[in-house]
């Protein structure tokens, strides 16, 4: 299949973020004193398990970041025409569950629709009954009796296959680590040996890998024949919607920080180090910004952006591009409102640092201000930046849902936890109630936010110098 690769604005930001992470990893790897806190993270079971789960979310998000527009079969004047729909690698991988749309609601793992409809009876008449689903459990001849056993056997075989694959993966991973260690011992250079995770955290990682393998095997085997999390009002598979929502959550959580970081870092350090009128001006700016309640500032700005985007429809060739620009704007706005807290922290820390002896020594040697800032102050506030980044992430993911509910969040066509909850909000009042969309959205969000919180705690424990470790 031919396609035209597309890089949306947020895609570019994500690639930039990846590049930053890659450079930082290379930088840290060579410096044992920077590696030390990361090794502490690796020794914590909670930290490593949450990192594993988070990286799975990130993997889904990255797959959903590689966008393209598929080429349409017919050509006009020899030129390939591309479909207006922007697809991602995730859409390709999940093509089956994406395309198998039912008519309307159906419960998880059901073979029938959720509402009664007029159907033709076997005896020729027309009666009211639950119609069969087009795809969910379509292979069953008599769902009433076979459904339970079929689900059970598929789940079991899937789980077993998953465990097997996970075990193989884990085994090859151990073998690789072992080989690497042998190699470095041979070279007798203890400095460059790969960081070894603690025994306890390693065991926890293995157990989690196997459990995850089981879960994935189960879900993917069931997903071939059923809607594992049911379908929504227009018959879309809820599992697919939830998977697509992950990227939005991750973008909000990470790109926002990426956007605000340069400002917070620059202004915070400048205010703390230069003092005087620079400090006054910067303090004035962030007092003004933080004195406006953040929800209101976000609401006002998003409303304005909405008008702005509506007034310039000619900028966007596809609706995905418009939705994406709105997502980027939301990140920018969230960045502007959350910027002040970190800036204040950095200013305070710099005020403290600049009075220390080593800075005064540098000043006495005639080192320039710019050099003192970049070589002596910046590295010593980086732990605050890192801790603030990981701590902010979960709050931002939660904020997205609230903002989308209020109507100032992402574009309604963007799939996100907020839009999912918003569209499913009234379904609790239906009789019998439709609980699966909400349950899926809240469930995915809980796992994402919980792992992010646990990881943030592990990072803080490892990096915060105020915690005394003995």
């Amino acid at each position: 299949m031919n396609g035209m690769p597309i890089i949306l604005w947020t895609d570019a930001m994500i690639y930039l973020l990846l590049a930053v992470v890659a450079v930082a990893t290379l930088w840290i790897r060579k410096r044992p004193y920077l590696l030390l806190p990361w090794q502490r993270v690796m020794k914590s079971s909670v930290g490593m398990v949450s990192l594993l789960l988070l990286s799975l979310f990130v993997l889904v998000g990255l797959l959903d970041t590689v966008h393209y527009r598929a080429a349409l079969p017919e050509k006009s004047n020899g030129q390939t025409v591309y479909s207006p729909e922007v697809l991602s690698l995730l859409d390709v991988l999940a093509k089956d569950i994406k395309s198998r749309n039912e008519k309307t609601y159906s419960a998880p793992l059901a073979a029938h629709l959720y509402a009664k409809e007029s159907v033709e009876m076997p005896n020729g008449g027309v009666g009211r009954d639950y119609p069969r689903l087009k795809y969910g459990g379509a292979h069953l001849a008599n769902p009433q009796q076979e459904l339970f056993n079929d689900v059970l056997s598929r789940a079991l075989s899937g789980a077993m296959a998953g465990v097997l694959i996970a075990t193989l993966l884990a085994a090859s991973w151990i073998a690789l680590l072992y080989a690497l260690r042998r190699l470095s011992v041979d070279r007798a250079s203890s400095m460059s040996s790969p960081p070894v995770t603690g025994r306890q955290s390693f065991r926890a990682l293995l157990i989690t890998t196997v459990l995850l393998g089981m879960l994935f095997g189960m879900v993917s085997n069931l997903a071939t024949a059923y809607h594992v999390l049911g379908t929504d009002k227009v018959g879309q598979d809820v599992l697919y919607l939830a998977l697509k929502s992950i990227r939005t959550g991750l973008v909000i959580g990470t790109v926002t920080t990426l956007v605000m970081l340069p400002f917070a870092l620059f202004f915070g350090i400048a205010a703390g180090y230069l003092r005087g009128w620079v400090d006054d001006v910067i303090q004035y700016i962030y007092t003004v910004l933080s004195s406006i309640p953040s929800v209101l500032l976000i609401a006002a700005t998003v409303l304005i952006m909405q008008v702005y985007i509506e007034a310039h429809p000619e900028w966007f060739s596809t609706s995905a591009e418009r939705a994406d620009l709105r997502l980027l704007f939301l990140c920018l706005i969230l960045g502007v409102t959350s910027w002040t807290g970190l800036c204040r922290l950095l200013r305070g820390e710099t005020l403290k640092l600049r009075e220390l002896e080593y800075i005064q020594a540098a000043q006495a040697f005639g080192v320039s201000s710019a050099r003192i800032l970049t070589r002596h102050i910046m590295p010593n506030v980086m732990h605050i930046v890192l801790i603030a980044m990981v701590m902010d992430f979960s709050g931002l993911v939660l904020a997205e849902a609230v903002l989308s509910y209020v109507g100032v969040g992402v574009d309604p066509t963007t799939m996100s936890f907020g839009t999912l909850i918003n569209s499913a909000r009234m379904e609790m009042g239906r009789e019998p109630m439709v609980w699966w969309t909400l349950a899926a959205a809240f469930g995915f969000m809980l796992v994402l936010v919980l792992t992010a919180n646990l990881f943030a705690d592990a990072i803080r424990d490892a990096f915060d110098p105020r915690l005394n470790r003995t």
Binding site: A300, I304, Y308, N453
Partner: protein, 324 residues
């Protein structure tokens, strides 16, 4: 003290001017008033006459900063900046899109907001501090670990979940209280119970954990060791010493939100149909009523600055070393 207060209030003026200029440029410079009118009247097929009429009705037909058609002082006063932004300093917010006076609307809606926000605030504070003190008392035991894990779990749940789940279980399944609505006076209590409960639940995790950190930091200090060394019971140490000394960091985070209680909570009020300022704001956002949003932004920052002043005053009450 008086001199300090006057100075603080004078400091507030440039900040409010900053907020004002910021909202002005946000609302009128990024988009022209024509765009705004077109948005209100529907995007497509709007005649220029209709736009002019809308602008005239809502007072947006003036120039932005400088009116050269007028004479004298009116050159400055007969502009959008003066009419829409400067007048907010006199708490004259103009009228909303449906023609009602925003200031009067705000006055009427403050009370319902407060009826929800104040109990939530007080009950919440009591529960969070009790919970945190208990965790501090049992620090480094299994109970403490369980408490912290519970906190992390609770703070990872979306606030929307508490509202939707609470409404479903308490109101729909158990029929204890009405799902939504509001009444003033004693009748209103049944409407208030659930929002307050959910409001408290919503931040029990993060707040308790935060207070626990404060208490633990305080409990590690030397005077606590001295207090224990002279034979005080752990409870007396906790309440008589740790709690008292932790007041400064607690007040820093708490007092500043007290004036903002007037603003109410966007989510709770819209879910429970409470006619307060929060739902007013949400309605304005959905109806794209820029006048109301602008007024709320201004009001919010005034209240925030009032909160900062109150925080400073509260320091003098709990810490005799602080003199203003």
């Amino acid at each position: 003290m008086i001199a300090y207060l006057i100075r603080r209030i004078l400091y507030a003026i440039p900040i409010l001017i900053g907020v004002n200029v910021l909202t002005f440029s946000l609302f009128f410079v990024v988009n022209t008033t024509d765009d705004m009118a077109r948005m209100q009247l529907g995007m497509k097929r709007v005649t220029p006459e209709a736009i002019e009429k809308w602008k005239q009705q809502h007072g947006y037909d003036r120039p932005l900063l400088f009116n050269e058609h007028e004479a004298g002082l009116k050159k400055i006063s007969d502009t959008i900046f003066f009419q829409k932004s400067i007048r907010m300093f006199m708490f004259d917010f103009g009228s909303s899109n449906d023609g009602r006076d925003i200031a009067r609307e705000i006055q009427a809606r403050m009370l319902p907001s407060l009826a929800i926000a104040l109990p939530t605030f007080i009950v919440g504070l009591l529960i969070y501090i009790t919970f945190a003190l208990l965790m501090t008392l049992f620090r480094a035991t299994a109970l403490d670990v369980m408490g912290v894990s519970l906190c992390v779990l609770l703070m990872s749940v979306s606030g929307l979940f508490y509202i939707i789940g609470g409404q479903f279980v308490v109101s729909k399944l158990w029929h204890w209280v009405p799902i939504s609505g509001y009444a003033s006076g004693v009748d209103g209590i049944k409407f208030i119970l659930l929002p307050v409960l959910i409001g408290v639940m919503g931040s029990v995790g993060s707040s308790s954990r935060w207070y626990r950190t404060i208490f633990l930091e305080e409990a590690g200090k030397d005077y606590v060791r001295t207090a224990r060394a002279k034979g005080l019971s752990e409870l007396r140490v906790l309440f008589g010493h740790v709690l008292k000394n932790a007041m400064i960091p607690i007040l820093t985070g708490v007092v500043v939100v007290i004036p903002l209680l007037f603003m109410g909570s966007l989510l709770t009020e819209s879910f429970f149909g409470i006619p307060g300022l929060g739902s007013y704001t949400i309605d304005a956002i959905n109806a794209q009523d820029f006048g109301v949003v602008r007024a709320m932004v201004f009001l919010g920052s005034v209240l925030y600055i009032a909160g900062l002043v109150l925080t400073d005053i509260s320091y003098t009450m709990v810490d005799p070393r602080v003199r203003l």
